[in-house]
């Protein structure tokens, strides 16, 4: 499916970009791109005892290679560009909805569906940051997790309406994209807990 390819491409692009900024060699860049793009879905499937997606859908690997080549060719550096971030938000929306759909199809309970949907969306970026030895943005100043959680809750809620899976997925996925883009534009952040060290 085209969306599948675009989501993988987007995650791989941001991963490759982060690896370039950390001064990795081309092997490291390709590796981080692949891990960023495929970890979430791999964990999702392994938790449900299904083959990782890249085993049955090899075109996902082409999405990673395409993002890798685009990074090598690109002249731009520094911060990830606006277009890449928009694409990344689209990837998050897709990953969350795809995981929620699979979880519902496997008759998972609500809590487990939420966990699986959020993890599928954010795991790639988390492992990316661990491999690049930077503080995980997910845990410090990102709204990926919140957007994913709200999207997954919306998907579950809309399962009890007459909407088709496709309509439900489109609404929930676009909501994730919307929250993510608004949070970037207006620099929304989750609160921290400020405490004096006792």
């Amino acid at each position: 499916m085209a969306l599948d390819f675009i989501a993988t491409f987007a995650f791989a692009l941001v991963g490759a970009h982060t690896a370039v900024n950390r001064g990795m060699d081309v092997g490291g860049i390709l590796f981080v791109a692949g891990v960023s793009a495929l970890s979430g879905g791999t964990f999702r499937n392994m938790a449900l005892q299904i083959h990782p997606a890249w085993i049955d859908r090899p075109y996902l690997l082409f999405a990673v290679i395409a993002a890798f080549l685009a990074t090598l060719i690109s002249k731009r550096s520094g911060r990830v560009g606006k277009y890449a971030l928009a694409l990344d938000s689209l990837g998050l929306g897709f990953a969350v909805v795809a995981a929620a759909q699979i979880a519902v199809a496997h008759h998972l309970m609500i809590g487990a569906t939420l966990v699986l949907a959020v993890l599928s969306g954010v795991l790639g970026g988390l492992i990316r940051d661990v491999l690049c030895q930077v503080p995980p943005v997910l845990l410090h100043r990102e709204t990926n997790g919140s957007a994913a959680l709200i999207g997954a809750i919306t998907f579950i809620a809309l399962c009890h309406t007459p909407l088709t899976y496709l309509e439900n997925g489109a609404i929930s996925g676009l909501l994730v994209v919307l929250i993510r883009l608004l949070s970037i534009k207006f620099r929304w952040n989750l609160p921290r807990i400020s405490r004096r060290q006792a």
Copy 2:
């Protein structure tokens, strides 16, 4: 089971505490709490081709949320408190015994049972430290691993006695708690290898 809930709560509490001390936002705190509490059992089940525990027992997720809320409300900071450490030791004892029981029920050999029991007990804390970018205490100055190993060996040995699983588990689990508490009180440490750099 109540013990299950308490063990998850304890691991999540220490995880949330570590995340607070690293200045994470509330999303990061909840995430680290969940990963600290659930990674060990998730790996254990996935290695045995069983669903992760949080899929079938959603009340484990409530244990994580309870620990998260307790952390938000709490005024204390700095070092993890004595009660949390005692609770964490109880969690370790439970996790090790639960994994050893499942491994024995799956007819795993002794070596594999030991590996699975120790990993189930320590994996959550290890991933917690990796995500928080602190040197993993497990690998540098902790006795969690040794306590878990001794507990697992005890459990396997007692399987050849007329003790029931429950009695065996209680003895092995309390032994883990005892070793852990004594090691904290008397600052027991495993030796390092000191060498001149050649």
Copy 3:
């Protein structure tokens, strides 16, 4: 199988060495040795819904313990010795070929076979570096990944010849060893992308 044992021993030896250099206690050294040696095969099997190798072949655990004891006894420190690196290359060759064989036996497509073979070969070293909090050599200046990839491609290509699995595996595996040793001797590196920060 003897090769299996040697490969695990080699990976564990390098892992234990890295842990010693990071000043870990003996528990940490044993743990890192085990994770370095067994992660690749564990992931490979879990992705294919097979038990991790250490569950069914407990002698692999003895290979880890042997490497751990050899490290404790050894007087040498500093850089990993030449013999250990040669052994490590042999381990890589074996791990890649073993994974490629299993992937082909499971009728995986070419792309998935390559991913699985490379990951099986390099995952242990990657997790080792994450746990030791050093920049992953795989991603910065190592040719493990390239050697593994070329070996896996060779194995797949030779599957279409009248060579037996054993002959094919020997050729592909020795090619991995050769590339790895030559790259160490002549300090081959993959290029980086040098860019001005935009």
